[in-house]
């Protein structure tokens, strides 16, 4: 399927099934600004779904509602068949600005989720070390965040989210604060991670290339108030080599197609 060359993205109806479901989510902020309206979405298990849209379309708001960090004004988030009332151990969040504790070492930052759950020190440090190695930061355990580059800090953020072994990883523009080369490497590593971890990823980005490159499913949101414009199955084989994927005609066509769709929302 990876070289099928089809130009039409496969569209599916937005049927709310999957491990995470959004049912009728609306969000109006205190000031009366409506960020989201009537979002119905399903996020299939083991896949990466990207929320894509212009700035201010409420994609981060939606992600934070799924995380339980924000309350929706209407609607429900269902995770594993149960309604979300707040943050939970089956979801872990990766922050745009990394959100690392500057006073704590890499090791302690990565183990922080486990520390909050009361996992004994020795055990949580063992788990943290293995995840630090997994994101390529072995040897940096005792360093502090300000000693690391932006890309390395986000790897710490990722390791912290992996360490709690949540089924669903929520990533809020995780690569937006790192430079272009780091970003590419990061995207490739993310694909490896998806293959090996069998977790469900929900990913927010404003980069079309990034969205198509990493996703199984791309959700296009309209500008404020954010509503689901389309859900696109990329149908790309993410298991192959990154070079192959970046030159894949289907990949390139899909990027162009999504750009044409988003274009109409730009003034």
């Amino acid at each position: 399927m990876n070289t099928s060359g089809a130009t039409d993205p496969v569209e599916t109806a937005t049927k709310p099934d999957g491990i995470v479901q959004a049912r009728g989510i609306s969000k109006t902020y205190d000031g009366g600004i409506q960020a989201l309206e009537g979002i119905d979405l399903g996020f299939p298990k083991g896949e990466l779904t990207t929320l894509l849209g212009p700035s201010g379309c409420g994609k981060t708001t939606l992600l934070k509602i799924i995380a339980g960090l924000l309350e929706p004004s209407a609607g429900t988030i269902i995770v594993n068949g149960r309604a979300v009332t707040g943050p939970g151990p089956e979801r872990a969040f990766v922050f745009q600005d990394f959100a690392l504790m500057p006073w704590a070492s890499v090791l302690r930052n990565v183990a922080f989720g486990l520390e909050l759950r009361g996992v004994p020190r020795r055990e949580r440090h063992g788990i943290a070390r293995s995840h630090i190695a997994k994101v390529g930061l072995a040897g940096f355990e005792e360093r502090y965040p300000h000693e690391l580059s932006g890309g390395m800090r986000q790897r710490v953020g990722l390791a912290r989210a992996l360490a709690v072994d949540a089924e669903v990883l929520l990533m809020d523009e995780p690569f937006s604060a790192v430079d272009e080369q780091t970003r590419r490497k990061f995207q490739e590593d993310l694909l490896h991670l998806i293959q090996s971890e069998n977790k469900t990823f929900i990913f927010v980005t404003h980069s079309i290339e990034e969205a198509v490159y990493v996703s199984d499913q791309v959700v296009l949101l309209t500008p404020r108030p954010g509503a689901v414009s389309r859900v696109i199955r990329t149908g790309l084989d993410h298991g192959g080599s990154p070079e192959e994927l970046r030159r894949n005609k289907r990949y390139l066509d899909m990027v162009e197609e999504i750009w044409q769709m988003l274009r109409e929302y730009l003034v």
Binding site: G68, L116, R117, Y144
Partner: protein
């Protein structure tokens, strides 16, 4: 310091002015300025007297108690004002008034309330130190990166966790800055309190020395207090530099 292209040690300034003092004293130009060597001799003698040692003990005790109270009241109040808007609205103006007010004017009122004893000095120390601690703690808490709080919540932090593991640690540099400024003010408080009460501690000694024109003892005590104030500020500054490594790297 450099003079004529040569490095001059910092101690030089002290030695220079001590010599100048000595010369002025020996020349007997001003009655109020005895030779520096006499002052030093008086200092050596003074520190051995029971009266001085009692006064020192009282001073340190009042300082510690007052400062402890200021921390116990100031930090929680600052945290409250940093987190609860209603508390900030209700108390903010007053804290700002008190932080810049000449609090010495209130000491007589404290004297009436708490009597001419150690309690008045403790309360004065507290009153001098507490406001800047409140203000800096509040500023620190307000500037904690909100995404750190979101992060902790997303990993299941309880309310207590948020305060103990995120807010207080993230605000620590500002809190310590407040404590340092608080200590400097508390030193002033402990001296001014004693001077105004003037029947106990250093206040009594000052009263005794100046009333009897014992200028050598008077200056000896003054030098000692100045040195103590500087030492206290330096100690906190040193502690502050220890946490600076992350204070500069936040954000």
């Amino acid at each position: 310091m450099r003079i004529l292209g040569r490095d001059i040690p910092i101690m030089f300034a002290l030695v220079f002015w001590a010599l100048a003092w000595e010369i002025v004293g020996r020349a007997e130009l001003v009655f109020l300025v005895p030779p520096f060597s006499h002052v030093l001799a008086a200092l050596a003698e003074m520190v051995q007297t029971g009266k001085f040692q009692d006064a020192t003990l009282l001073t340190f005790e009042s300082f510690a108690l007052g400062m402890g109270l200021a921390l116990l009241l100031g930090i929680p109040l600052g945290v409250l004002m940093g987190r609860v808007e209603a508390a900030e609205k209700l108390l903010g103006t007053w804290v700002n008034v008190f932080v810049s007010a000449p609090l010495t004017a209130l000491v007589p009122v404290i004297m009436i309330l708490f009597g001419l004893g150690q309690t008045t000095i403790v309360v004065t120390v507290m009153l001098f130190a507490v406001w800047i601690i409140v203000l800096d703690t509040q500023a620190g808490i307000k500037h904690v990166n909100p995404s750190l709080l979101e992060m902790a919540r997303s990993f299941g932090a309880s309310r207590l966790d948020l305060y103990a593991r995120i807010l207080l640690l993230a605000a620590l540099p500002e809190i310590l800055a407040g404590v340092r400024l608080g200590i400097i003010r508390a030193v002033k408080g402990v001296v001014i309190g004693q001077l105004l009460v003037s029947i106990i501690g250093y206040g009594e000694l000052f009263e005794l020395y100046s009333r009897n024109f014992l200028m050598e003892q008077f200056w000896a005590l003054t030098i000692l207090l100045f040195a103590f104030a500087m030492l206290a500020a330096e100690l906190v500054g040193w502690a502050e530099r220890k946490v600076e490594f992350y204070a500069g790297a936040r954000g």
